[in-house]
């Protein structure tokens, strides 16, 4: 009796697993953490429109790249910088013809809504005791931060001492921008370098921003494309088409991106 029950349960498991594996209406998207809000919404709309099950995996681009290099299977890869996408293309992980830049983003300084350190301008960041969070150098937002600081250091108004002072105020280097944003939103640090798009509609009450003037800012270019190992390349292509369609662009703009 028990044997039969166990056998029946096992059989159900096997069938369910097989059925799950052969299900083709599933699209796995590896997506830069800065796109969490925007792609969450794009994914939902796409699911509603097509009935395809969109599985989004958000993390720092560099972490996702490592996962792909170590054998993770996905259909679409969305990168927060060109460097990691170029790397994946050179290593043969991408279907290179499908890769294109779909949006741009800019860096801002975000501060908690009550602005405990009273950060009004970039120069306030170099004051002693300001608690700043940045990213690890391998994360796109971390390397963009370093570029911004280099640009400021090369300008006589700020100079290299400014960069040193800001760097010595850094208390943590996060591996994904979403971790940084939540720590700022909680008010646990005074300021952080993040993307303009990180001030999502939901967060606008908890954080405010200090603009980085264009002359010092960097334009973050976001490429996306279909992976060589994609189990569902056709669906992947039509998902990308949707991202760059007017409907997809509208969502991106609402989250502070600048679609190209």
């Amino acid at each position: 009796m028990i044997k039969e029950t166990v056998a029946a349960i096992l059989a159900i498991f096997v069938i369910a697993t097989l059925a799950g594996a052969s299900d083709t209406d599933e699209l796995v998207v590896f997506c830069a953490a800065s796109l969490t809000g925007a792609f969450g919404e794009i994914g939902e709309i796409y699911e509603d429109d097509t009935g395809v099950d969109v599985i989004l995996n958000f993390d720092g681009t560099q972490a996702l790249r490592t996962q792909v290099e170590q054998g993770a299977i996905a259909d679409v890869f969305v990168s927060a910088n060109k460097k990691h996408m170029d790397g994946l293309m050179a290593e043969g992980f991408m279907d290179n013809d499908t890769v294109s830049i779909f949006t741009e983003n800019r860096m801002v300084v975000i501060v908690p809504a009550d602005n405990p350190a009273d950060i009004q301008s970039l120069s306030d960041l170099s004051e002693p005791g300001v608690m700043i969070i940045t990213g690890v150098k391998d994360a796109p937002f971390g390397s963009y931060t370093l570029q911004v600081l280099d640009n400021l250091a090369n300008d006589s108004t700020y100079g290299p001492e400014y960069r040193e002072a800001v760097m010595s105020n850094v208390i943590s280097q996060e591996t994904s921008v979403s971790n940084l944003v939540s720590k700022i939103a909680l008010g646990e640090a005074d300021a952080g370098f993040a993307y303009q798009s990180d001030i999502s509609p939901k967060l606008s009450e908890q954080v405010s921003k200090v603009e980085i003037p264009d002359q010092y800012n960097v334009v973050a270019e976001y490429p996306l494309g279909v992976l060589m190992e994609a189990e569902n390349p056709d669906e992947a292509s039509s998902f990308i088409e949707f991202v760059v369609s007017p409907e997809g662009r509208a969502v991106l703009e609402r989250y502070g991106f600048q679609p190209v």
Binding site: A63, V136, S172, E188
Partner: protein, 288 residues
């Protein structure tokens, strides 16, 4: 060798008594041997792979990488500090729990064990909510100019939070195992309670206390989730070995592998040290 271990095992009696036929006996032996080999390989293979994969990339140069040095120093310092605090606070606490009853003991016991079953990430958020700058207690500390989150102190706090239960549990069992007859004998001979504790109870329980402390040290050394949440990730200040491994994994796999190897070596040395230590102590106990 293998069969001699099984002899002590349960079920062997049945086999010896001949209640299990020869074929079944052999099948059982082969099955258990296979299981043992499989279990050993399951642990040995991934560890060996670390060495195999790192053979090409990890050089002495990687070892002297500042990331590696900083992480190693910080990890050893914080884990040692945590364990010392855990021992100082945990020893009297577990003696109390082993010997006395007090109202709410059940609740206190469950609470103490909670961090063991709680995912470390949850522990990290909880610590941030309590001791962060905006936290329940942290905001008052902040008003007094004390900041804990995102400092080396936070690393130690996180490690104590997750490793304390391991020590408390083991220490309590060790104290409970000390025969009350011995304590009472010492008392009737006129020793004070304190004297009894230090001259009778503590020496007998030492073995268990040490293995508890080692468990706590190992847990503190491996702490990741609570640390990255509560202490952040900053080289030389809060980036311990596990955090450095995670961070390096996203850029330089060689550094990551090098750190992982060091951590494996330390863990192995700890296990070996404990085994040797406890064996020697056991022997000296017997001689006495």
């Amino acid at each position: 060798m293998v069969s001699s271990q099984f002899e002590r095992g349960f079920g062997w009696g049945l086999i010896k008594e001949g209640r299990i036929s020869g074929f079944r006996r052999r099948a059982l032996k082969v099955g258990l041997a296979l299981l043992l080999v499989f279990a050993a390989a399951f642990i040995a293979l991934p560890v060996a792979s670390l060495f195999i994969k790192s053979a090409s990339g990890v050089t002495l140069e990687t070892l002297w990488n500042p990331v590696v040095i900083d992480a190693l120093t910080l990890s050893l310092f914080t884990a040692t500090t945590s364990v010392v605090i855990v021992i100082i606070l945990g020893t009297p606490l577990s003696y109390l729990n082993a010997r006395f009853d007090y109202p709410g003991k059940e609740i206190a016991d469950s609470l103490i064990e909670l961090p063991v079953v709680m995912p470390p990430m949850v522990g990290g958020i909880a610590l941030l909510m309590a001791f962060g700058r905006m936290g329940v207690l942290g905001q008052h500390l902040h008003a007094c100019g004390v900041n804990i989150a995102f400092t080396t102190v936070a690393v130690v706090v996180a490690q104590i939070f997750v490793s304390m239960p391991f020590y408390l549990r083991q220490a309590r069992i060790s104290f409970e195992d000390v025969d009350l007859v011995l304590e009472n004998a010492a008392r009737t001979l006129g020793a004070s309670r304190t004297r009894v504790f230090f001259s009778v109870t503590l020496p007998i329980a030492t073995n268990g206390l040490i293995s508890g402390a080692i468990m706590a040290f190992a847990r503190a050394l491996g702490e990741f989730g609570a640390t990255i949440m509560f202490a952040g990730n900053f080289q030389g200040k809060t980036q311990t070995m596990p955090l450095a491994i995670y961070t390096a994994m996203q850029g330089d796999l060689d550094v990551s592998l090098c750190l992982a190897l060091i951590l494996v070596a330390i863990s192995f040395a700890i296990i070996a040290a404990v085994k040797m230590l406890t064996r020697r102590m056991y022997k000296s106990d017997v001689r006495d």
